[in-house]
Subunit: 79 residues, 2 copies
């Protein structure tokens, strides 16, 4: 069962990577880039076949390892 975990910096948290990308896009001539937020996406292939169990497992993985929940939020999606 494939699961996508998306991890983003929480609103209000400084995002230096997104800021650097925004400035680089400006340097390349792309005008009108008002904000860039940079996150991670993790595509997990789990042996688990029950959708609810797979989602619960992915959420536990996100809380324990994939996301730093102090500064990042995550979402889990079956794909």
């Amino acid at each position: 069962m494939k699961i996508k975990v998306t991890v983003m910096p929480k609103p209000g948290v400084l995002d230096p990577q997104g800021r650097a990308i925004q400035q680089a896009l400006g340097s390349l001539g792309f005008a009108g880039v008002q904000e860039v937020r940079a996150g991670k996406v993790l595509l997990l292939d789990l042996a688990e076949t029950d959708p609810a169990a797979a989602r619960a497992t992915a959420e536990a993985m996100a809380r324990q390892l994939l996301a730093n929940t102090v500064i990042e939020s995550f979402s889990v999606e079956l794909v």
Copy 2:
């Protein structure tokens, strides 16, 4: 206009970050993790208001800066 650009390693390309996460999940006691692929997600806020133009701009950004198209594929999605 908000646009999400997702960048993933192409199939067959070695993904050391995904591999490291897979092993770390195993160490934490999560069994049955068959594969992990690690990518980036970039949430762009563009001044452009026309959806087609915003999408075209985001694709140009991805090709020029956000993705290394030799080893990564990208997708663009209006959000």
